[in-house]
Symmetry: C2
Subunit: 198 residues, 2 copies
């Protein structure tokens, strides 16, 4: 009767955990379009049919995984929003916590963000960052469509969010050669688009 049972039933949790882990494993080994339901079920040591009890197909499963990812990051970054730091350069703790979270779960993020054929996750994270950056800019600069440096606001958002994502992806692909703290500080040096033009 209770629909939440579908999430607390240990059999369901077990199956989904095994599917998720198998998916990450396979993604480390091969391209995503080589991952069939057959292979995935075999690796997860579950029956093929069981897969269909949980997901419609593999893209659907990736969709759900991406939802969970956004949900989790959103929760982490949501805590930052309470802090009323008006200083535009003080958003680096947000970035720092994001980088730390990614570093802690690097096995997962390295494959879902770093694999060259799984842009779904990157797109989702990009969307999230765009929303957060927009929110932040609005708080700092009001509703003007042009930043203080003379840059169109939407262009500044495109630029900043994709720079952030792209750098994180490269950082993961190179096996995180810098600490989250160092990288966060580098971001602060690079993000000068909201300052006045010299």
């Amino acid at each position: 009767m209770d629909p939440t049972n579908s999430r607390t039933d240990p059999r369901i949790l077990r199956t989904r955990r095994m599917l998720r882990e198998a998916f990450i494993e396979l993604l480390e080994e091969m391209d995503v379009d080589k991952i069939s339901v057959n292979r995935l079920a075999e690796r997860a040591t579950i029956n093929r049919v069981t897969f269909y009890l949980h997901y419609r197909d593999i893209p659907d499963m990736m969709d759900k995984l991406a939802d969970e990812m956004v949900e989790e990051i959103s929760k982490i970054l949501g805590e930052e929003r309470q802090e009323p730091s008006a200083d535009p350069n003080e958003d680096w703790p947000m970035i720092l916590h994001l980088l730390e979270h990614i570093a802690e779960n690097s096995k997962f993020y390295k494959v879902v963000l770093g694999s060259k054929r799984t842009p779904l996750f990157t797109e989702r994270l990009l969307g999230l960052l765009k929303r957060l950056i927009t929110e932040r800019i609005e708080r700092i600069e009001g509703m003007a469509t042009v930043t203080r440096a003379g840059v169109q606001r939407d262009i500044a958002i495109w630029y900043g969010s994709s720079a952030l994502i792209g750098t994180i992806v490269s950082w993961l692909r190179h096996d995180m050669p810098y600490t989250p703290a160092f990288l966060a500080k580098q971001f602060m040096l690079l993000r000068r688009q909201f300052n006045k033009q010299p």
Copy 2:
């Protein structure tokens, strides 16, 4: 006997042109993983077997298309390299010509760069831009590993190249609301990472 015949034979050119156009058409209509050889051949009004005379499979075809794309852009941007403009802020004609080229072939670039499941083309373009930016930085700043603003060089390259690509993709997805010239100038306002810190 002459292997170049394989490229001048009008039948081959015709077939490949039709395949390419059909692929772009289908990419406008559906996700790339829904494009089967069956569908592609049908849309291109060629026999399914004929496809295999030219490409091994669809990923192989996309690979070839990406090669052609990089080749073409490389040719355009290669002409810029002759100009010995030492001024770091004078690389905007390069960006301008890139944007103009993309705008002229926007139907193609909108689908191959803008579609959410064809990161292959974005990756290739990213690689090309990374090489060009690296080359440019080396000419300006020598072999130092840190830029004048105190930013690690590789991080600056990750940041700058992905910002460039990401902005172009967003620009395409929004149907190019700005002229290439305007966008190029905006880039110059945003790319301050190589200047001294105030």
